[in-house]
């Protein structure tokens, strides 16, 4: 097929795009994990206000398509930010596609991570936490030294699934104009009139990402299950 030579010519552009895709995925993951931990803590907290806010957050995210949220935050957010900016007399602030994209994806997956973490938190026996307090650990220490390492084993399967969905959701940032793998390949396909070969390349690149992730997750699951006997 003639397409393969063209594919090699465009390889530097495609690889640049692939790097952006991976960056978007990891930055969104960091946001999602932070939001997820906060949501799970809020859902399990004694404060009714925290529970209500977390409940509304996860319900809204589950009800609205990710693309609509992304367009809302990218186009709508731009206007709102500048309205606020005009009020305080700031200069024009540009909400770039990278910020809007990672914020949206992080915001969406924060809700799903929250559900995963909530289940995992509840799977940790209370006695372990009480033992930590009995040794004089602070709340932060109990959280970081006992709760998180213990709950990771229960959270990992759900977390892994969320991660695999998240990688694929990064393709959406091409719609708001970020030069990721999908957009770069689309432009290359448009100018060479060979879109099929370029999109096929994108598809296989995503298959490589997901396959590598599945291997990494398997290793992580083994790591966090050390000391647990399998039935």
């Amino acid at each position: 097929m003639e397409g393969f030579e063209v594919l090699i010519d465009y390889m530097p552009r495609l690889l640049e795009g692939a790097v952006v895709t991976v960056e978007v995925a990891f930055v969104s993951l960091a946001i999602a994990l932070a939001l997820g931990l906060m949501t799970a803590s809020a859902k399990l907290s004694k404060s009714r206000l925290a529970r209500t806010v977390a409940g509304i957050y996860t319900t809204v995210i589950r009800g609205v398509p990710d693309l609509v949220l992304m367009l809302l935050i990218f186009f709508g957010g731009q206007i709102q930010v500048n309205n606020i900016g005009a009020y305080f007399g700031w200069d024009y602030i540009d909400v770039d596609a990278f910020t809007a994209g990672t914020l949206t994806i992080g915001f969406i997956f924060g809700a799903y991570m929250g559900e995963t973490f909530r289940g995992a938190f509840m799977a940790v026996p209370v006695g372990l936490l009480e033992a930590g307090y009995a040794y004089g650990m602070s709340g932060r220490q109990v959280f970081l030294r006992i709760l998180v390492p213990q709950m990771m084993r229960h959270a990992l399967p759900g977390l892994g699934n969320n991660w695999l969905v998240l990688i694929k959701a990064t393709a959406l940032v091409s719609i708001i104009g970020l030069h990721d793998l999908v957009l770069n390949a689309g432009q290359a396909g448009g100018s060479t009139r060979l879109p099929f070969i370029f999109y096929l390349f994108v598809a296989f690149a995503f298959l490589v990402f997901t396959t590598l992730s599945i291997w990494a997750l398997r290793w992580l699951e083994k790591y966090y299950s050390a000391g647990v006997r399998r039935a």
């Binding site: 009800g63 393709a171 879109p195 099929f196 994108v202 598809a203 298959l207």
Partner: protein, 244 residues
């Protein structure tokens, strides 16, 4: 915030809603019809039979729906035979069919894996009992394996339906004026992205929770035999059984 442009253009949203509903339900129906035979093939022990089905589901579950849609819409258009065909058949120029094809193949792949999981969860004793009764393989599938597999697949399938509803918003990227497409038109015409996308988000939200409610009712119906019998346990009956 000013929502008047949205109320003035409600026809555009209504037409978009109709297209979204058509797209989602058609792809789900065809996808489900494809998934049942594919799932049965996927459980086969012969690698020549389950291998191709595995490759199909691995490809469609491992790549973004957006890329699959681009691959079909832009990629197929590049092929010589498609250029010839679309000159003969006008409907091949319509983006709708490419979106429908992409959504159908995507949901078929996910549903295949859902149903496969449910089929493999069948208690082997049930199959053995059916064999002992002298049922043929086809009859075992029809009367024993599939009915219980569908029941076990229902919660996962309801997630897939919601996923497809949300995924259908992608159709607006390839020029289709579905719900999201309508919102994008209003947003660019009136420069009010905030109001336009919030309005459409509310519509999606309502559809999502209507569907979730529908599936809850279906689960109540299908899992009726699993519900604890409150009346029997709670009132009078237990007392009556005790000797006075």
């Amino acid at each position: 915030m000013d929502f008047t442009p949205i109320f003035e253009n409600y026809r555009l949203y209504l037409d978009g809603l109709e297209l979204t509903v058509k797209l989602v339900f058609t792809s789900l129906a065809i996808g489900l019809a494809m998934a049942v035979p594919l799932a049965i093939l996927r459980t086969s022990r012969n690698p020549l039979v389950n291998g191709p089905v595995w490759a199909f589901t691995y490809f469609f579950r491992g790549t973004p729906l957006l890329v699959q849609m681009f691959l079909l819409y832009y990629g197929l258009g590049q092929m010589q035979f498609m250029i010839g065909l679309s000159q003969q058949f006008d409907f091949l120029k319509d983006a709708y069919w490419y979106a429908l094809l992409a959504f159908t193949l995507n949901t078929a792949a996910y549903t295949t894996e859902i149903i496969r999981g449910a089929i493999e969860g069948t208690d082997y004793g049930e199959v053995e009992a059916a064999r002992a009764c002298g049922m043929s393989r086809l009859m075992i599938y029809r009367r024993v394996i599939l009915p219980s597999a569908f029941r076990r697949a229902l919660p996962a399938y309801s997630n897939e339906v919601i996923f497809m509803l949300h995924g259908s918003a992608l159709a607006s990227v390839i020029t289709i004026i579905d719900l999201t497409g309508a919102a994008r038109i209003i947003a660019s015409r009136h420069y009010n992205p905030f109001e336009a996308f919030i309005a459409v988000g509310v519509v999606y939200f309502c559809i999502t929770f209507t569907l979730i409610g529908g599936f809850k009712l279906l689960e109540r119906h299908w899992y009726a035999h699993l519900r604890p019998r409150e009346e029997a346990a709670g009132k009078g009956k237990t007392k009556a059984r005790q000797p006075a």
